[in-house]
Symmetry: C2
Subunit: 197 residues, 2 copies
């Protein structure tokens, strides 16, 4: 197999990159400076060599603790529970959260063989128990779909009574969306969760 | 800068990959097996180390001659002149061409400082002259835009009288397209180039 076919094949394995896009990328890399392609290769190797899981929360980290857990200005009184490390980024982009995280590593999905024991739930329970009264609130931020909801309900049962308040993200109309195009379930949730102005 | 930001930045330099796509790719790579990311890095390094230009036609090659030039079953009586090596692939995908190629390395574009001396034209002239009567036809397959046309006109003048017939690709309605959505210039070209049925 030629090196062009080889690289095209590897690129096609990435999400959202089909054969045509892969080929365009390969031609771009061949046409560009060799240093550009080598820098990309080096960045990939560095990623593999240096990325690990945060020992406390499961987020991606380059040190034993991730950037959030090692930041003394984050509020240890709040733990936001998310499915994946990518969700940490999503919450951070929101910009309003100053607490810590806990990454479950997935969501309950019996059909895919993912039960509670496949998720990082026991370590969350230990974190909550060892935090004592310093931990005020556990925010369940799983996805707003059937599996995410099932995970939230399971978590709530498991965590309830350990001390901290247990909350979940609000359901409602996404910011910037036209009411006409919002689906019926979201409208229903937004109506049920309406707030005083 | 973190390794995640580093790789995200490198990916964003690629055409068609914005910050969001880059981030999704990085999370995909972190979640997957380390071997996958390393294989991609290795394929990039191999590309840089092993890809060169074909000594005869300028196409991408892993040997002194490219896969087309070193194939004894290709017809040396035809040379198809293209702007970029990626265009060789485009013509090959058409499937009907069995001749050789010549890659110009661009097209005339005075505004970008690309004149005839920046293109690989002299070597094409030498190829034609040294081929003698064995070369029957030079097919000019530059782009169907202003710069591509200017390049074709310049090439035709330069090559005319050297012996072989000089042709260019037909203009017309793209296969599979709805006449309603074809632009006026293409309709005019297709009409002018109409053929007996």
């Amino acid at each position: 197999m030629s090196v062009i076919e080889d690289l095209t094949g590897e690129l096609t394995r990435l999400p959202g990159i089909g054969p045509k896009t892969a080929q365009r990328l390969v031609y771009h890399l061949m046409k560009g400076a060799p240093e550009d392609a080598l820098r990309l290769a080096h960045a990939l190797e560095q990623l593999v060599q240096r990325i690990r899981r945060c020992e406390r929360c499961g987020n991606y980290a380059e040190e034993p603790l991730c950037a959030v857990c090692s930041n003394p200005r984050r509020d240890p009184g709040l733990i936001c529970v998310v499915e994946e490390a990518a969700d940490v980024d999503a919450v951070e982009r929101g910009g309003g959260y100053r607490g810590l995280y806990h990454v479950l590593g997935g969501r309950l999905s019996p059909l895919d063989g993912v039960g509670p024991e496949q998720l990082d739930i026991e370590r969350l329970v230990e974190r909550i128990q060892s935090s004592g009264e310093a931990l005020r609130e556990v925010i369940v931020a799983t996805s707003a779909n059937v599996e995410g909801e099932a995970t939230a309900v399971y978590l709530e049962k498991r965590v309830r009574g350990l001390g901290p308040r247990v909350t979940r993200l609000a359901r409602g109309i996404p910011v910037g969306s036209d009411l006409e195009y919002v689906d019926a379930s979201t409208i229903a949730e937004a109506l049920a969760g309406r707030r005083d102005m």
